[in-house]
Amino acid sequence: MPIFKKRSISAFGKKKQDMPEGLWQKCPSCGAMIHELDLQQRYRVCPKCEHHFTLNSDERIQMIVDQGSFEEMDANLETVNTLKFKSYEDKIKNYQKRTGLKDAIVTGRSKIGGEPAVIGVMDFRFLGASMGSVVGEKVTRAVEAATAENSAVILFCASGGARMHEGILSLMQMAKTSGALARHAEAKLPYISVLTHPTTGGVTASFATLGDIIIAEPKCMIGFAGPRVVKETTHQNLPPGFQTAEFMMKHGLVDRIVPRSEMRECLTSLLGYMMPRAAA
């Protein structure tokens, strides 16, 4: 078992310097006002109600990997408007400017508790982390690299689903990414899927639910169809907690619900059990 040390909080507070003083955030769950610095120090979890604020990809990566171990892959992949879908390019440019990202996922090689893991982190800020050709290609390349290099794969999922603007090409990314995971599984390498708020649609119906181990963050929304669609189709009242992590747990669909503060420790521990070892 790799030895795990809790990291100092400052490792996560990279952006501390450029954060204006006195910035307060309102918890969307309990309404408490929390200071930005407080949030940063608590993995962006509300101290009053444990609500998990949405993380951007950069924050997530820093929170999970061994310090300094992250090497980004395929950072320059950008979408092209194959279908000439109206105003898609403008939309993309807009999100690129707002987030500093090229598309909705960051992938790269890393070490977690000393074990090699190729990770992918979806960023919900970028067009609802919808999956088009770029997300699909980056996930596929990441998984293929992990297979070639005997690495684990860990994907932090969050997505509104397939990216409509890329039509059928976005649907095909579901088959492409699942195919790459088939080969990774054949090589007997671990794949851990971490479901974060919200994971829905085509991402749930492909790589998000294919993990050897599936972990969910507390209270996150996980589903295939959106709750409104379910309601409208079935004309039924939705059961309490429908499509939450806890609902998934109750129905036996996830392995564990893991709060953010314990995520790195949990992943480290899992990799320790699952990574191939040289025969003794």
Binding site: T82, I168, L169, K176, S178, R183, E186, G202
Partner: protein, 317 residues
């Protein structure tokens, strides 16, 4: 069969009614000329309508309730079909029938989404919207095919996987995802044909194949035109524009390289002539089956992987 005309087919229906009237109600020689004139006009109108079908008109044809469905094709194309039921865990999904079949002496496994023609049938078939049990049964049958060396024929015709409470509770997303992954590894040839509606993940869930064929008037899309219109225009009435923009018709998908062949339908669409439609489907499936049968298994699987691996467009700089 009395075919119900779609909105854009009404000019033809009107002419046909006139012709019938003329034939039944007059015995004089002079009307021969008139009959010939109307017949010619029907031909011209038909060719004009069907040669210039919009994507939205094709969607209407793809959804026509008199269109041949999966079991109609099974009946027409196979020497025999032995249905096998159940996912061995929860239930039997009537929206996804499947079983053993023989086609031209070849043993195969056949399955697909099944719609109903009337309310009673649709309650039974759930409008072709399968539950997790359907996808799991489909994979169970595919594994039978793999075990006994029988190629797999999957017919796609669904508005989408069923978005219900029970479906979510029993992990519809995982049932689809699992098929996507496992179908990539199945060691016998797989041919999928989109025969009507190719509704998103629910379609793809049995659509990871060595060859993906498509009936001329079928559509295959990541989202329904109505759903897309509701998001983009905040109004489902813009579905015709959405259908065009999404590029979901067989010619568009052939051009994008998503499908391997367009299977021609009888004039006016498959619902005008089930026998002819089934004959073209059978010819196409057999042709591809013959090409796939001679490949060694590792080549087959590598080509299947690459077939889907190449999808997607992006730039890198």
């Amino acid at each position: 069969m009395n075919v119900e005309p779609l909105e854009f087919e009404k000019p033809v229906a009107e002419l046909e009614r006139k012709l019938k009237d003329l034939r039944e109600n007059s015995k004089e020689i002079e009307v021969d000329k008139e009959i010939r004139r109307i017949e010619e006009k029907i031909m011209a109108t038909k060719s004009d309508i069907y040669r210039n079908l919009t994507t939205w008109q094709r969607v209407q044809i793809a959804r026509h309730k008199q269109r041949p469905f999966t079991l109609d094709y099974f009946n027409q194309c196979f020497d025999d079909f032995l249905e096998l039921h159940g996912d061995r865990h929860v239930g039997d999904d009537a929206a996804m029938p499947g079983g053993f079949a023989t086609v031209e002496g070849r043993r195969c496994v056949a399955l697909g989404h099944q719609k109903g023609r009337d309310t009673k049938e649709n309650l039974h078939r759930n409008f072709g919207a399968a539950h997790p049990e359907g996808y799991r049964k489909a994979l169970r049958l595919m594994r039978l095919g793999e075990k006994f060396g029988a190629p797999i024929i999957a017919l796609i015709d669904t508005p989408g996987a069923y978005p219900g409470i029970g479906a979510e509770e029993r992990n519809i997303a995982e049932a689809i995802a699992f098929n996507l992954r496992e179908m990539m590894l199945i060691r016998v040839p797989i041919i999928a044909v989109v025969i009507g509606e190719g509704g998103s993940g629910g379609a793809l869930g049995i659509g990871v194949a060595d060859r993906v064929l498509m009936m001329e008037n079928a559509y295959y899309s990541v989202i329904s035109p109505e759903g897309c219109a509701a998001i983009l225009w905040k109004d489902g009435k813009h579905a015709p524009e959405a259908a065009e923009a999404l590029k979901i018709s067989a010619p568009d998908l052939k051009q994008l390289g998503i499908i391997d062949e367009i299977i021609a339908e009888p004039v006016g669409g498959a619902h005008h002539d089930h026998v002819a439609a089934a004959a073209s489907l059978k010819t196409a499936v057999l042709k591809h089956l013959r090409e796939l049968e001679v490949k060694d298994t590792d080549t087959l699987l590598e080509e299947r992987y690459q077939r889907f691996r190449k999808f997607g467009e992006f730039r890198e700089r």
